[in-house]
């Protein structure tokens, strides 16, 4: 089938997408977007998480055909057009939230999903919001710090605009 959807802000069409192709294989093997990782085969680790219409979605559990006509955002889509880091990416870096980096793309995506849904989360809500993505390195604390900081920054920016 021919699959049309919006990927990282661009309308694209992909030919020869089979019925049983998974979103992760579409992104990694067909489109070469390697920021979305593989970590398990059981949909448990969450390192393949992407946004589908603002919803946190495991690409290893989602048929590619399901994103027809929808909007998909991967880690590659979060940087500004000039290559600047997104506020979350910069905050992860500044707060020491990155160690081996393998879960980092999915964590940043999970944080983005959370803040779109819950702009001013408590630390407990941040933990719940990223709990579908496993990290074995960081103990999560600096990840929570990084997300909390961005929530505050975004709120301050909204105040400033008012």
């Amino acid at each position: 089938m021919r699959l049309t959807f919006t990927l990282n802000g661009e309308d694209i069409a992909v030919d020869d997408v089979s019925e049983d192709m998974l979103l992760i294989d579409l992104l990694r093997e067909k489109l070469g977007l390697m920021g979305t990782k593989r970590g398990c085969e059981s949909g448990t680790c969450g390192v393949c998480s992407v946004l589908v219409d603002d919803r946190l979605t495991r690409a290893c559990r989602t048929p590619a055909a399901k994103v027809m006509g929808r909007t998909v955002t991967t880690i590659e889509g979060l940087r500004g057009p000039d290559g600047t880091l997104s506020d979350l990416q910069a905050s992860f870096l500044a707060r020491g939230a990155v160690q081996c980096g393998y879960c980092t793309p999915a964590m940043v995506i999970a944080a983005e999903a959370l803040l779109r849904r819950t702009p001013r989360p408590t630390r407990a809500q941040i933990r719940a919001g990223i709990s579908s993505v496993l990290c074995r390195c960081t103990g999560y604390q600096q990840i929570v710090d990084a997300i909390e900081l961005v929530a505050e920054q975004r709120a301050a920016n909204r105040e400033g605009l008012r």
Binding site: R28, L33, M34, G35, T36, K37, R38, G39, C40, E41, S42, T44, C45, V47, T74, I75, E76, R79, L85, Q89, A90, F92, L93, A94, R95, G96, A97, V98, Q99, C100, G101, Y102, C103, T104, P105, V108, R123, I126, R127, A128, I130, S131, S132, V133, L134, C135, R136, C137, T138, G139, Y140, Q141, Q142, I143, V144
Partner: protein, 757 residues
């Protein structure tokens, strides 16, 4: 000394951070090259069996299959392993654990590789299974190794400590605790599974991209089993998605397999383990049964200790002979004793296999002794934290092996910090008087620890680094020690920048590559910052001397008169010159702007036969307090908060150091509460993250942590080490809190095992 620019600067960021937050970092699983074949391994479904038939030729008739290998394709059947050479790249004669690789197929596609595996003719004759360490020592037990390394059946290794005679001191001690503690296996559960990509080279050699910890050891192992000289194999380490001690032996196996297939086919070959394969085929933290006898005076002063450790190393030794030695020389904990004896046996079983895992034997040893110290304090009617402060090691004391501590001992300060920050005294008293009817019960617990620095008696502890100023005035740095997430590339960069007085951005750490980096031993034992860091510091000092000669010449003064202003050099009279000017002038003078340096840890000596000596050059120390809530009805335990203090000398990279602490604590929490990798009759009981649960963000509490900064005179700017020991205190602190909450002592992990307390 001038004010430090980078050492200890809280604003420092991970030098690899940008490529990781953007998703641009290319791990081995993200690499593919044209013409690349996919390799898949046939693995043993049985824990112990003789291989009665093995024929891979039918696989070669499967469309898409290009090659297939077995033990016969390697020199000496692919026999490898250090310090005990008992393992095989592919199973030889027997399989000894579930998941052991037997054959590997390379094919055009994954489906073809799977079909090739299915076509292999293999037959097994099942052998009786050794399913526990205790059973392994039965005189009639089946023999797991083909040749016993000790000549004593399944006994893999024995270690002892003999420090005076604890017998008489224990016999008439006013208070004695005698108890046995059972610690389970633990899975590393790095989120990136093991993998390697091999590319054959025109000269008959092979290049391997592998997510290993120690590329030089991988090179030597792979070259040896391929029958190539070491320079015939080049190992490059891409970014590694977590390791924690777990990516050595199993990745060497994988690397040798793909290297052989690449040489046979003349094409690139990649093998990535699935999660289930990784869980079955990778080595684990050793399970251990630890029998402790501790004796104390009525006033609480510890007298003597005796420990017997029985360690399950599974089917192959891997790093267990070394890890079990570390457990042995830490078994009585960070306390003053008059006498200590320890007897450790590590034995072969068919429970997977075990090797290096963060903490390296001390996680199990410290957990047991910290539960025991709590029990002894309770018997004496003492507060467990005050009891530890009464007996803990301080400057001038002797450790359990008799080694004198002279400097950099911050243990008491760590205990005091966690006591004060956690409001220990009030909470301990409050939770001791909870009404019996309350279903949700709270407890607070403490543990403290010491951890020998570097390899100690395990081997020669050195590292080497190089620095080179490039044509564009940037500086390239190599180290034989590597970064798999713990931050050593950032530490090396900041140390070089500090000594050279340049911006960190000027320095680029090359990818670990056996062709450019110099051999430095394995990246283990939390030794990168201390040993690798000192090598970088010395290398930078050498390069600095050359730069200063050029600067002095340019400014018409002596080296001693040079002053720095940022990167610029200033002489007594002249205008300041830039770093680039100095580099250009050095080149005009014909000076070579590159350097290499080596550093080795101060001499230590351990007599393995007599169990005496100095096991380590120095120690790091720490203490943790955990507060828990236990639901008596469901049995569910939640850790409410953890306070942690660790003495690692000077802290070089503060955000990275705190990240190591938080991450280590989360792994310790998993070990205490939920992990416990179980085998039933040699069969692993969990091969996915649904059944083997590791902590999620909602399982880990807020952590309040600090570093108590002492100064270790031999360390780079006074630094010691931290990556492993920061997890050592967590599990026993949680278990001690749990014991207070439920009003009963526990002696095994995991606590959340589905049973109600």
């Amino acid at each position: 000394m001038n004010k430090l620019m980078y050492v200890g600067n809280p604003d420092l960021r991970n030098v690899d951070g940008i490529e990781k937050v953007t998703g641009e970092a290319r791990y081995v699983g993200d690499m593919s090259v044209p013409g690349m074949l996919v390799a898949k391994a046939l693995r043993s479904p049985l824990p112990h069996a003789r291989i009665t038939a093995l024929d891979v030729s039918p696989a070669l008739s499967v469309p898409g299959v290009v090659s297939a290998i077995t033990h016969m394709d390697f020199v000496d059947h692919g026999n490898f392993g250090w310090p005990t050479k008992d393992a095989y790249i592919l199973a030889y004669r027997k399989v000894r654990h579930v998941g052991e690789p037997v054959a590997v197929v390379a094919a055009e596609t994954e489906l073809a590789a799977e079909a090739g595996l299915a076509a292999i003719i293999v037959a097994y004759d099942a052998l009786p299974v050794v399913s526990s360490a205790a059973q392994a020592l039965d005189p009639g037990a089946p023999l797991v190794p083909e040749v016993s390394p000790t000549g004593e059946g399944n006994l893999c290794v024995r270690h002892i400590v003999r420090n005076s005679d604890p017998g008489p001191l224990l016999n008439n001690a006013p208070a004695v605790l005698d108890a046995t503690y059972t610690m389970p296996h633990q899975e590393h559960a790095y989120l990136e599974t093991e993998g390697a990509l091999a590319i054959p080279e025109p000269d008959g050699g092979v290049t391997v991209y592998a997510n290993n910890q120690s590329p030089h050891i991988n090179r030597d192992t792979t070259a040896q089993v391929l029958g190539l000289p070491p320079e015939g194999v080049r190992v490059i380490q891409p970014p590694v998605g977590g390791a924690f001690g777990g990516k050595d032996d199993v990745v060497y196996q994988t690397s040798a397999q793909v290297a052989k297939l690449a040489l046979l086919t003349g094409r690139p070959v990649r093998l990535l383990l699935t999660r289930a394969e990784s869980m079955a085929a990778s080595y684990k933290r050793q399970a251990a049964q630890i029998h402790l006898t501790l004796g104390a005076e009525a006033n609480g002063t510890l007298r003597a200790a005796r420990a017997e450790l029985l360690i399950d190393n599974g089917a192959y030794a891997a790093a267990t002979p070394l890890a079990s030695w570390r457990a042995t020389v830490h078994a009585a904990g960070a306390y003053r004793y008059q006498a200590v004896h320890v007897d450790t046996r590590a034995v072969y079983t068919n429970n997977g296999y075990s090797g290096a895992f963060r903490g390296f034997g001390n996680v199990q040893a410290a957990a047991a002794v910290e539960l025991a110290i709590d029990e002894l304090a309770e018997r004496l009617g003492r507060d467990p934290l005050a009891f530890r402060l009464q007996n803990c090691l301080r400057p001038g004391d002797h450790t359990m092996t008799g080694a004198e501590l002279d400097e950099s001992v911050g243990l008491a300060a760590c205990l005091e910090w966690v006591r004060d920050r956690s409001n220990w005294t009030d909470k301990r008293a409050e939770y001791a008087t909870q009404p019996t009817g309350v279903e949700r019960r709270r407890g607070i617990g403490v543990a403290c620890y010491f951890h020998g620095t570097g390899l100690g008696g395990e081997g020669v502890d050195y590292a080497t680094a190089t620095l080179k100023v490039e044509a564009d005035h940037s500086i390239t740095l190599t180290s034989g020690l590597t970064d798999f997430g713990q931050g050593s590339r950032t530490v090396f960069t900041l140390l070089a920048a500090e000594v050279l007085g340049v911006a960190m951005e000027r320095i680029r750490v090359l990818r670990p590559d056996t062709q450019t980096a110099l051999e430095s031993g394995p990246t283990v034992a939390s030794r990168a910052s201390l040993v690798g860091g000192n090598a970088v510091r010395l290398t930078a000092a050498k390069l600095m001397q050359t730069l200063e000669l050029a600067a002095a010449d340019l400014l018409g003064c002596t080296r001693e008169h040079l002053v720095r202003d940022g990167e610029r050099f200033i002489g007594p009279d002249e205008e300041p010159v830039t770093f680039d000017d100095v580099v250009d002038h050095a080149q005009a003078l014909g000076l070579q702007l590159s350097a290499q340096g080596r550093w080795q840890i101060p001499h230590i000596e351990w007599d393995f036969e007599h169990g005496m000596g100095i096991p380590y050059a120095t120690y790091v120390f720490g203490a943790q307090v955990a507060e828990v809530e236990v639901d008596l009805h469901s049995g569910r335990t939640r850790v409410q908060k953890i306070w942690a203090a660790h003495d690692a000398g000077t802290i070089l990279f503060p955000k990275g150091a705190l990240g190591q602490m938080y991450g280590g604590i989360a792994q310790g929490l998993g070990y205490a509460l939920m992990e416990g990798f179980a085998f039933e009759n040699g069969i692993p009981q969990a091969l996915d993250f649904d059944r083997y649960r590791i902590p999620r963000a909602t399982d880990v509490p807020e952590i309040e942590g600090t570093y108590i900064q002492t100064v270790y005179p031999h360390g780079p700017y006074g630094a010691k080490n931290l990556a492993e020991p920061v997890m050592v205190g967590t599990a026993p602190a949680i278990a001690n809190a749990y014991s207070q909450a439920i009003g009963r002592r526990v002696r095994s992990f995991p606590l959340n095992s589905g049973r109600t307390p």
